[in-house]
């Protein structure tokens, strides 16, 4: 066991059991999985992506590239979880990934034998012969070896939530600078949100031995958090990572609500997406320690120096018994102090610099090797470090036994979020690191994220920046003073150490196995832009998103290309800053709640009467009604058509778009929107209208009714309801704002039923005895407002089925009552409800164009409605409709189709070829737009667009439907199959 007897921010009173690869261990509340594994001397945790080299725990944060495990099991399995960022909970189950047969013995480690071949970009140079083998052999092998963890393949059982938040100041990161800023702003009365993706706030104060105002750094942090929690104007969000900066001061963040529990509590989401609008944001995300590049720097037991300190100080875990420090800055020496304070031997300290720092004097180096201007040139041990070969300034090499190497190559400010808007960071000569230059609006970095590495400067920077924000918000800043800060080891010069002449496996990108020699090879082949380097070597494309690799890689590239790192530049970070679950972004919208459902007023009635429903946009519409004994949908539909054409049927058409167009200039506006005239429509009459887009093609059709001089009631197709509403608002607000016309949707206000069939008048007369419905009194296309049981209703004599038909509308609150009353009144006449399928059959029998014909690619002329285009007035689309491409006589026009063999089935989506023509594209003369079985005619019928269709009535053609394997000889006929003269309508 490597748990220290005292210290750490863990709760020793609450032990937690967990398993890793089936073996049982225990840790404490406050541990991460990584800390608990180290406490139990578990070193080997994973295998690397390409070479399957043994990997351990490198860091103590979300920048971890190596210790990836699959957390949980079954449908809750979370592949590629960073052990260093997983809070331990009782009963936690984790397993290693990407190894076969086991973590200890991974056959794919044989890849290392082929490492001379498996260099960067090798796959671009081979696998080309023979071509067929790529999909059959090479690629399957590569794909099976690739990838890290596996998805369970089962639906994600957890639920996710979303929240919108608004504040004056968003503080990203609750380390010393962030807490100081939040405290300043909080005390000054600003609305503050503080987010930190760790389970506890304090940042590196939790990982170092430091003192502020007489308390330990951790206790000071806890005190500040407690004070902030007392302010109603401050919102504290631990376990919450800000992942992206977006336009309009908007920030995306993910709160891990229940990831620290075995399962979310009932009703509790696993995670919550926060969409935060913050007038100001301060990036206090700290800095990320840079690895050093030396052979074997990926062996389990080689760790970042700050991580070693974190495990010692925060988790009371000794990651090793005998350590070697390799550092190019003071951090390594600070870790040596932490190790000795915990009673752990320091076998050697290797510093790339010439002088020891001042804090070295506090170390007992009596039996330690100290090598200045030195470097580690080799690591002994494979699955765990056994020793390190050190070369000192004079070139002498000594091998020192050790089981832990703590390395520190300096610090990179964690500036990723700041470059989300595409602004390149700039190289600071003074700090030897990249800093933000241009940033998103009202966004700046503070503390070590801005290069102010010391504790004192970080705290001061937090106060300064927050004070400026408070003043900008027009408030008076609170007096802030944070006294007597005991400094930890400052990190001066932050030299970027770039090795030269490296032999062996020295890793730059640990997870993607990118070595220093890969960078050299890429440069020699001309991939010298950092973007080419990234893509050719895959450096920075792993799950740590280049946080540890990029600067070292760019340093090596600059060395190879004899350019400065400032000239080479760096990659801009893109959202998300750390990877986020897709489930949390989708939130509530999955499964049947992917999109809302819209129900008509008769929905329940229809369900009670055997309706089968179909989706039409977001609406559910009855497609047909299954009567007892009917097992095949066509049986129900034929019955509905026959019953309607033979007697009377009723259909819910409430989903049509309905728009009130009102005001003195309503008539003028409709004249300009519709291709035909509407200002001439008398009050109490309805008229069929055709609407074009401005490019001259057909947009939509529908009837419009005039209920008063200044009141039109416009209907649209269900699919185009929103589009027409927007079009009307565009016309009256943007094109012709001078018109005095108002418009609003009344789609939801009116429940509307179509009553069709020879008995429809009789049924309505029974329902409305005191209205004169005689043909002469209520002619075709008449309309009026009446009362039914005291409630206003509207009656229209319009027909889509071609039968004598009416539409009746009532306030949707009484929609079901009216429907039931009509069914009662119609019972003696054998009234049946019919669905969208029967409606479709009847409109095809009548040759009415609908959505399939008006699919945005057809003109009025194509659909036989060319004469509706008025020549007396301008209207939307008139000019562009004149273009040759739209008036070319060679265009296809609407015709009907009958199968020569009455038993054959016609289908929409088929094409038409001249009789005997070879089935190839050049011979296509038309396409079938709508088709259905006509019970009225006893055979399948269809509408089609055919080149020169009108002149080819009676001609035989071949219907070609290759993907459904049917060729059907057909005869072109007039599109109106039933009652061409239209007597029934007007009877």
């Amino acid at each position: 066991m490597s748990r220290l007897n005292t210290g750490g921010l863990i709760d020793r009173a609450r032990p937690l059991k967990f398993t890793f690869d089936g073996k049982q261990y225990s840790g404490f509340e406050g541990d991460t999985l990584a800390a608990a594994l180290l406490a139990n001397d578990v070193r080997l945790v994973a295998r690397s992506f390409k070479y399957h080299r043994p990997r351990g725990i490198l860091t103590a944060g979300t920048e971890e590239p190596n210790a990836l495990v699959t957390l949980r099991e079954g449908a809750r399995a979370e592949p590629n979880s960073k052990a260093t960022a997983v809070p331990l909970y009782d009963g936690l189950v984790a397993s290693s990934q990407n190894r076969w047969p086991s973590l200890g013995f991974d056959l794919l480690a044989l890849n290392q034998l082929a490492s001379p071949i498996f260099v960067a970009g090798f796959y671009y140079k081979t696998f080309m012969r023979p071509a067929a083998l790529w999909e059959k052999l090479y690629e399957p092998l590569i794909r099976r070896a690739a990838g890290l963890g596996a998805l369970s393949g089962l639906p994600d059982p957890d639920s996710y939530d979303r929240k919108h938040a608004f504040c004056d100041l968003l503080v990203i990161g609750a380390g010393p600078a962030g807490l100081a800023a939040a405290l300043t702003a909080g005390r000054s009365g600003l609305r503050v949100i503080v987010a930190d993706d760790d389970m506890a706030m304090g940042g590196h104060l939790l990982k170092e031995r430091s003192e502020i105002a007489g308390a330990t750094g951790a206790d000071w942090a806890a005190g500040v958090v407690e004070e902030l929690a007392s302010y109603p104007n401050v919102t504290l969000l631990p376990r919450t990572g800000v992942f992206g900066v977006y336009d309009g001061h908007e920030y995306g963040a993910v709160e891990r609500v229940a990831d620290h529990l075995p399962e979310p509590l009932p009703g509790q989401p696993r995670q919550r997406l926060w969409k935060i609008v913050a007038k100001h944001a301060l990036l206090a995300s700290g800095a990320i320690e840079r690895p050093l590049i030396f052979p074997g720097n990926d062996r389990p037991g080689v760790m970042m120096a700050s991580a070693v300190s974190a495990y010692l100080n925060r988790f009371a875990v000794a990651p090793g018994k005998k350590a070697v420090i390799f550092t190019s800055c003071d951090t390594g020496w600070q870790t040596a102090l932490d190790l000795q304070a915990a009673g752990i031997g320091v076998a050697a300290v290797v510093d790339t610099r010439a002088q020891k720092p001042a804090l070295a004097d506090r170390l007992d180096l009596s039996d330690s090797v100290v090598a200045l201007q030195g470097a580690i040139v080799d690591i002994k041990g494979s699955k765990s470090v056994k020793g390190a070969t050190i070369r000192d300034g004079s070139g002498k090499e000594t091998t020192v036994a050790c089981d832990l190497v703590a390395m520190s190559g300096g610090w990179n400010p964690a500036i990723g979020l700041g470059s989300n808007f595409g602004n390149r960071p700039v190289w600071s000569e003074e700090l030897n690191a990249f800093l933000l230059d241009k940033t998103p609006p009202d966004f700046s970095s503070i503390g070590s994220a801005a290069g102010r590495m010391s504790l004192t400067s970080a705290l001061g920077d937090g106060i300064r920046a927050a004070t400026e924000v408070v003043q900008q918000m027009g408030k008076s800043p609170a007096e802030m003073a944070i006294a007597d800060v005991a400094e930890t080891g400052g990190t001066n010069e932050n030299m970027l150490w770039v090795p030269s002449g490296i032999e062996g496996k020295a890793f730059v990108d640990f997870q993607n196995d990118v070595t220093a020699s890969d960078i050299k090879l890429a440069a020699s082949e001309g991939f010298v832009s950092i973007e080419h380097l990234k893509r050719y070597t895959t450096m920075g494309m792993a799950t740590d998103q280049g946080k540890l690799s990029q600067i070292n890689g760019h340093g090596l590239l600059a060395e190879e290309t004899k350019k400065t790192i400032a000239e080479a530049g760096t990659i801009m970070s893109r959202p998300p800053y750390t990877p986020i679950a897709l489930g949390v972004v989708a939130g509530h919208h999955r499964g049947e709640h992917f999109r809302p459902v819209r129900h008509t007023a008769s929905h329940d009635w229809a369900a009670e009467n055997g309706a089968a429903f179909v989706d039409v946009g977001q609406w559910k519409r009855a497609q047909w009604f299954v009567q007892p004994g009917e097992t095949e949908w066509r049986t129900s539909v034929d019955r509905e058509v026959n019953a309607t054409r033979g007697g009377v049927g009723i259909c819910d058409v409430s989903t049509l778009g309905k728009i009130d167009v009102l005001g003195p200039d309503a008539a003028t506006l409709l004249d300009r929107l519709y291709a035909n005239m509407f200002s001439t429509l008398p009050v109490g009459r309805a008229r069929y209208g055709l609407m074009l887009r401005e490019d001259g093609f057909v947009m939509d059709d529908g009837t419009a009714t005039r209920f008063a001089e200044d009141k039109y009631y416009v209907t649209t197709t269900t699919a185009n309801a929103a589009r027409v509403m927007q079009h009307i608002d565009f016309a009256r607000q943007v094109i012709w704002p001078e018109l005095d016309v108002q418009a609003t949707s009344v789609t939801e206000q009116w429940a509307t039923y179509s009553i069709a069939g020879p008995q429809s008048r009789a049924v309505l007369q029974a329902l409305l005895p005191d209205i004169d419905l005689a043909n002469e009194a209520f002619k075709f296309m008449a309309a009026g407002e009446y009362r039914w049981r005291g409630t206003k209703i509207r009656l229209f004599r319009v027909s889509f089925s071609g039968e004598l038909a009416y539409e009746i509308s009532i306030g949707a609150n009484r929609g079901r009552q009216l429907l039931e009353a009509i069914m009662a009144a119609g019972a003696p006449f054998g009234i049946v409800p019919y669905g969208t399928e029967a409606l479709g059959v009847m409109r095809i029998e009548k040759g009415h164009p609908a959505g399939n014909e008006m699919n945005g690619q057809t003109t009025a002329g194509d659909l036989g409605m060319g004469r509706m285009l008025s020549t007396k007035k301008d209207f939307v689309g008139r000019a562009m409709a004149q273009r040759p491409g739209l008036t070319d006589p060679g265009r296809m026009s609407l015709v009907g189709l009958k199968p020569l063999d009455h038993a054959a089935t016609l289908r929409a989506g088929a094409h038409l070829l001249a009789k005997g023509a070879e089935p190839k594209a050049a011979n296509v003369q038309g396409r079938v737009t709508s088709a259905a079985f006509s019970p009225t005619l006893g055979h399948s019928i269809a509408l089609a667009l055919v080149t020169g269709g009108q002149e080819r009535i009676g001609e035989e053609m071949m219907l070609n439907d290759i993907v459904r394997g049917s060729d059907v000889p057909v005869e072109i006929c007039d599109a109106v199959f039933v009652d061409p003269a239209g007597e029934r309508l007007r009877g």
Partner: protein
């Protein structure tokens, strides 16, 4: 909605869309209806009539009682000042009251509902969970009234239930 005690349906309220005609000001409309009329998105009520600002020159009017004749009476009262459309059947109306109400709405609406920004009399037409809604704050409990197109009330109620479980 069984498990959501702080949300209830308001049944008998008549509704109408009021749309000012060219050149007619909010004051003209307010005068005709004897009620202080909001110019911005806000809610005002008086003499048995509520008015919610839904756009420049457009309001949603509510009567306190369900009355078939009310929309035509409103239209008559406004004469040529405005166009009126009966919407009594167009919407389902919900009342949400209590601290959970603000938290629930904030989960759905991308609008700042903090008392500093949204208080009694404030109103907004926006979208919650892909569903268009208009809501306004009635008092500082806080109590909100919310209208949604009737055809989508089940979808919104499901959203209420799923979010209320974690509020």
């Amino acid at each position: 909605m069984d498990n959501v005690d702080f949300i209830s349906r308001r049944e008998n309220v008549s509704l109408a869309a009021v749309m000012a005609r060219k050149g007619v000001t909010a004051a003209d409309i307010g005068g005709a209806l004897a009620v202080e009329i909001p110019k911005a998105p806000a809610y005002r009520s008086g003499s048995g009539l509520g008015l919610v600002g839904t756009g420049p020159g457009t309001w949603l009017a509510l009567s306190e009682t369900l009355d078939n004749e009310w929309p035509s009476a409103l239209e008559a009262a406004l004469g040529s000042l405005a166009s009126v459309s009966d919407q009594s059947s167009g919407y389902a109306i919900y009342r949400l009251s209590g601290a959970n109400a603000r938290e629930l709405l904030q989960r759905g609406a991308a609008i700042d509902l903090d008392p500093l920004a949204f208080s009694a009399g404030s109103a907004a037409t926006t979208v919650i969970s892909h569903i268009g809604v208009t809501f306004w704050q009635v008092d500082d409990t806080p109590t909100y009234d919310l209208v949604v197109f009737r055809s989508m009330r089940e979808s919104l109620e499901h959203w209420f239930e799923s979010v209320a479980a974690s509020v």
